[in-house]
Amino acid sequence: MTNDGMTEFGETYPMSTVNIHVHEVTRVEGHGDIVLNVKDGTIEELKWAVTEAPRFFEALFRGRHWTDASLLASRICGICAVAHASTSVRATEEAFGLTLSDQDFAFRTLNYHGEMLESHVLHLMFLVAPDAFSAPSVLTVAASHPEAVKMALRLKKMGNLISDAVCGRKLHPIGMIPGGFTALPSPKKMREVKAYVDARESDIKMMVDIVASVVPLFPEYLVAFERETEFISLTHPDEFALYRGDIKSTDTQKVTDHRQYKDIIKERIVPYSTSKWTSSQRSSYAVGSLARLNNNFDQLNAEGKAVAAAVGFKPVIHKPFFNNVAQLIETVHCYYEAKRLIDRLLDTGWKHEMPQVKPRAGRGVGVCEAPRGLLIHDYTYDDNGILLEANCIVPTTENHGSIEDDFRGLVPQIINKPQPEIAHALEMLVRTYDPCISCSVHAIKVRFV
């Protein structure tokens, strides 16, 4: 049957009985289940259950010294370790009243682009692309399309090389401390990075062509699925906001000071999920690449805009699948931003100075855009620089509600399809969000019960 809008629970569909339990959705980071139970055409149960073991990071921060904060923070997530470490040092910098030199800000931003590139390539080419070929993994794709996989590995490596050079190690970062870095790369090291990055321009073009060409291979109902929602991301007057900014909503069009995030983001507990859920203006909101482009499209660089025009991306887009397309556009944007930053740094040169840190009592809120969306670390320190309290809001936490609301929107449209196809569609929908579940618990398994 067809349906052209939002559907409430309990609506009846003739004849359908579906029992789906996808236990541990694959090709996502972390553990999550999809549960769908339809009896005689009535949806009795439809949920996105996060089953990742809780690790209690907000408690673990308590009593730790400021020098440990970013080291502990990056351990929240291996995929976006740079985002967590960066957000953590930004929180501590705000608490202690430290500012960065222009040079160190440039390195922090470059480091950030390195992770954004590695993470987006990993998601699009390794986790999403196999669906286009109905392949169980990129390893299967490697047999049929070896050149594409080698290209993806080179681009992934590029992201790692950039961040390894700038912060000592992308997984897990070593060199970022409040006020700057413990060390900076040698000019020789940066020239090596430049040579590798410059040589990747044709790979970036190849990736754009491949991703654009595989979009039509996904089911049309998934690509076209639309659900109007709220998008929240950072925004900054001077740049396409990734590393810094304040918080903007597509619903209100208001910009909220990052320190006042609690005014617009509400956390709650869902009894079947080890991750907390969040909401703002509606039952859920979405964060990530699509949210960033929907809020800040005009600030993309020329190369990013050119790809957006080529693939027909015009904000605001309310189709969740287009998060993949948004990631592709950001990949191009970040590649050219990184390339130019490297050139600029090599041109002006840099000098390492060890930051002098004097702890002081107070609160600091770090907010960055992790590859998957808005990331907040909120710390309170005592006079000795010991953490008294920490609150972290991570992007996948924010997207759980949106994923479940999308299920409720999509399921009625595909309810008469064969059960395995429904399960697969829901899995692909989850993957679109690039969930990073160990972060959010704190999720993927599809359970048709």
Partner: protein, 277 residues
């Protein structure tokens, strides 16, 4: 010889060690033809109970994890504890030390002067649940018991130490498995490699460092990038902890600072001493 069947599993962790396997960008396409990867949730769809080698990432924190881990042990010929969360409990173990504040807003949290008793650990874990989940901390979904390493629950054949596990050691282990031999890992402290790398000792720069007692094999990325060794690879065999303690005291650290430093990744050793785990 049939190709070894590899399976990857993860428990409480950041899943960074699985990513570290995928980070072998220059080598992975050369490894793949020699092995069958039958389970790797982060990257592939297949599920299988038929495997020879299980890479197990993460700490054990729930009864259900234990059941799953025993099942993996029953299926695998070789079980590898993959990364610090699996080999020692890693940072997850900090929750076992989450002593309550002695008074409101002081710095003494998480710094009991001696390793807590089993009863205290259970109390501390509940405290962690209350801090994170508030008055709904006791919902079954938030069930969590004191953090255990994989080797605390089942027999482990090999350990890949570190947070994250070292790419070099992952390759050495895969090569060793293919060649039917035991892997060769460093059995001396980080200090040795750091000296060979001609790094200026961090103590001479007025910083402190756990490289003196921590197992080498990581190519000392932290001291080489101007930051201290935080002991993520666990204690070297027969560590001179007293000497380390003396050095740290000499550099003006108070016992609570030293304990805090050791506990980031080496709380397992304290627990082992008091509880004979």
């Amino acid at each position: 010889m049939a190709k070894p069947r590899l399976a990857f599993f993860s428990f409480a962790s950041c899943e960074g060690c699985q990513l570290q396997f995928l980070n072998l960008e220059d080598e992975i396409l050369d490894i793949v033809p020699h092995v069958d990867i039958v389970e790797f949730r982060e990257a592939i769809d297949n599920h299988s109970d038929n495997y020879d080698v299980a890479f197990v990432e993460g700490s054990i924190t729930r009864p259900a994890d234990e059941t799953k881990l025993r099942h993996i042990r029953d299926n695998a010929k070789v079980l590898i504890a993959f990364g610090a969360c699996a080999t020692t409990g890693g940072v997850n173990r900090l929750k076992n030390f989450l002593a309550p504040e002695r008074q409101e807003k002081t710095s003494t949290v998480q710094n009991p002067q001696s390793a807590p008793s089993q009863a205290q650990i259970i109390e501390y874990v509940d405290r962690a649940r209350k801090i994170v989940y508030g008055d709904q901390w006791n919902l079954p979904v938030f069930d969590s018991y004191p953090t255990r390493a994989v080797g605390d629950v089942v027999k482990v054949n090999y350990k890949l130490e570190g947070c994250p596990a070292s790419k070099k050691e992952i390759l050495e282990l895969v090569k060793a498995l293919l060649q039917g031999r035991a892997p060769r890992f460093a059995r001396y402290p980080v200090c040795v490699d750091c000296k060979l790398a001609e790094n200026v000792c961090l103590f001479h720069k007025g910083q402190f460092c756990l490289g003196v007692v921590t197992r080498a094999g990581c190519d000392q990325p932290c001291p080489s990038f101007g930051n201290r060794c935080i002991g993520c690879r666990g204690l070297v065999d027969d560590p001179n902890k007293n000497a380390a303690w003396d050095i740290l005291t000499e550099f003006g650290l108070k016992p609570e600072d030293i304990l805090r430093e050791f506990r980031l990744f080496q709380a397992y050793a304290e627990e082992a001493q008091t509880m004979k785990i």
